[in-house]
């Protein structure tokens, strides 16, 4: 059940270059959230009227954590928030990554702000066998900590840290050595997601992809967050990212 909360900020700290971590005291949402779900963050008196969707990056008891990148006016405003202030948030929203016990290796793939839900996944899968492929443009990006460092495989476009190349190329290199059955969970830039869809098809690996579209309401009121998809028969369909998603199976998504 979605909750609309006035939540107190516990922490708001810079992680790297433009990356920040924001922690709310919000038992109502934290206690129900599943990895892949997101919340809407609301702003007062703002010229831009939409709330902003952010993936849930972690829950710890009553604390709800976001990882956000400052890229525009509203994330700038967020970076100015101080602990103790109260912010309206709505969640948990959307569907979540489906984790099956049959899976031998869980492959998390995150690029840029797409890292946030994967951090949550890495927490939930702590006791299981997972590999976390993190992609970034260069070493100045944010690469989250994981409990067991060998599980984190970094790739950067400029090769300044980790594998030199994009995260899909890195995966292509590693995949043969990974114990099957495998499931890929992904969140990141559209190009990366598209490549992963085809990677999954090629290697016959199920891929669950978290998609982004502009959202006005985040909860199915406006029908604005439309995404081109396919139904089971491969026919064209329109899905709502906020309600039917944000997680879609690779084969469902029409990258156009």
């Amino acid at each position: 059940m979605k909750k609309l909360c006035q939540s107190k900020i516990l922490k708001n700290e810079q992680l790297a270059d433009q990356y920040w971590k924001l922690v709310f005291d919000c038992p109502e949402i934290a206690n129900e959230a599943l990895p892949g779900q997101f919340i809407e963050v609301y702003f007062d008196h703002s010229l831009k009227i939409f709330p902003r969707p952010f993936s849930i990056a972690k829950v710890e008891h009553d604390a709800l954590e976001l990882i956000y990148k400052v890229i525009g006016s509203q994330t700038e405003i967020m970076a100015s928030w101080k602990p103790g202030e109260t912010v309206q948030i709505l969640g948990p929203l959307g569907n979540f990554f489906v984790i099956s016990d049959d899976t031998k290796t869980h492959i998390l793939v995150g690029g840029g702000v797409g890292l946030a839900p994967m951090v949550f996944m890495s927490e939930v899968l702590k006791e299981k066998n997972f590999l976390f492929f993190c992609g970034g443009r260069n070493g100045r990006e944010y690469f989250p900590e994981v409990h067991d460092p060998v599980r984190r495989i970094i790739s950067t476009d400029d090769g300044s840290v980790g594998f030199h190349g994009n995260v899909v190329q890195c995966l292509e290199k590693e995949i043969a050595a990974i114990e099957t059955p495998v499931v890929i969970y992904a969140c990141g830039p559209e190009k990366m997601c598209e490549a992963l869809k085809y990677f999954g098809e090629k290697h016959n690996i199920p891929v669950q992809i978290s998609m982004e579209t502009i959202m006005a309401c985040g909860m199915g009121l406006c029908q604005g967050c439309a995404l081109k998809t396919y139904d089971e028969n491969g026919n064209d369909k329109i899905s709502l990212v906020c309600k039917d998603g944000p997680i879609f199976k690779g084969e469902e998504i029409n990258f156009g």
């Binding site: 059940m1 979605k2 909750k3 609309l4 609301y42 702003f43 010229l47 831009k48 009227i49 939409f50 709330p51 709505l90 579209t213 502009i214 006005a216 309401c217 909860m219 199915g220 009121l221 406006c222 029908q223 604005g224 967050c225 439309a226 995404l227 081109k228 369909k237 329109i238």
Partner: protein, 304 residues
């Protein structure tokens, strides 16, 4: 206790002047987790067509300063599914259900009207002659007074239920349109539907809305809505339902003073889903502070 009820016609008494604007509230069932939808005097459902419509391809919405553009394209579940799936919810709804109808041609409107006229949980109709996002039908009905008259005049014979026409602001003179609605013996007009709006991505050079031009709504359009209501109020005697950019209780009073008998909340649902709760409280406090017993006393009382 102050009296918030308003009468839109003998056929339609609302326990308060707050309705939802078509297309901005789903079918009412999305927000029940945290809002009591019985706080609304009425719900206006998403524009309904005879057959289901998937709507326009993405991108369908974009944020603009103080507002948004949409081009949803009247995506809706179609008449049959509406009747099947929504009956239970609206049977339990304590306010009034107004079904918004949008057809591609005259006959589609009439067919839907005839079928819904027999449905007891449907209390009235809002006819969307003014959606800028469908190519056939849609806006052209809503910009030419005579063309619109031809469409709506036969409707009065098809239903005795509350019948309201929703007008577009994208016209030189909205008063002329409103007069035609009155001539067609409809019960009320609602205004405004969205303004024409466009936005372009300066890096891809693509329009930010699939149909290039979409419909502008939100706080930004509030002054335009009020101006149109003031003009229409002078030209007609039937009630006006005010729509456009309403955000808070202050806005609701402003619309009533300008001449609206009730209002619809639209885009505000996206950025302040609790608006209806706050407005409810505000209306009560305001009336008390002004020593008024009933909100009806405000309608059209601006010193203009």
């Amino acid at each position: 206790m102050v009296d918030l009820s308003v009468e839109l016609s003998e056929k339609l008494l609302l326990k308060n002047p707050l309705m939802t604007a078509s297309g901005t509230f789903g079918y009412g069932d999305e927000v029940t987790d945290f809002v009591d939808t019985n706080l609304y005097g009425g719900i206006v459902s998403k524009s309904l067509s005879l057959n289901p419509r998937v709507g326009n391809p993405p991108p369908r919405i974009v944020e603009t300063p103080g507002g948004m553009i949409n081009s949803i394209g009247l995506a809706n579940i179609g008449l049959d599914r509406f009747l099947e799936e929504k009956e239970e919810y609206f049977h339990n709804f304590e306010g009034q259900l107004i079904v918004n109808i949008a057809g591609q041609e005259d006959d589609e409107f009439y067919t839907i009207l005839k079928r819904l006229d027999r449905v007891n949980w449907v209390r009235g109709f809002e006819i969307n002659v003014s959606c800028p996002n469908v190519k056939k039908g849609g806006i052209q009905f809503g910009t030419d007074p005579d063309f619109m008259f031809k469409l709506i005049a036969p409707m009065r014979d098809l239903t005795d239920k509350f019948l309201m026409i929703k007008l577009s602001p994208n016209v030189t003179d909205i008063a002329k349109m409103a007069v035609k609605v009155q001539e067609a013996k409809c019960d009320a007009v609602s205004m405004i539907n969205t303004l024409y709006g466009a936005a372009i991505d300066i890096y891809t050079r693509k329009p930010k809305i699939n149909t290039v031009i979409g419909g502008l709504s939100g706080p930004a359009v509030k002054p335009v809505a009020l101006a149109n209501i003031i003009k229409a109020r002078k030209a007609i005697d039937i009630p006006i339902v005010g729509i456009g950019g309403i955000t808070n209780g202050d806005d609701v009073i402003e619309f009533l003073l300008a001449g609206a008998s009730a209002v619809q909340l639209g885009t505000v649902h996206f950025f302040d889903p609790l608006a209806v709760v706050k407005i409810h409280q505000f209306l009560q406090q305001y009336l008390e502070s002004q020593n008024l017993n009933t909100i009806k006393e405000l309608i059209g009382k601006a010193l203009i």
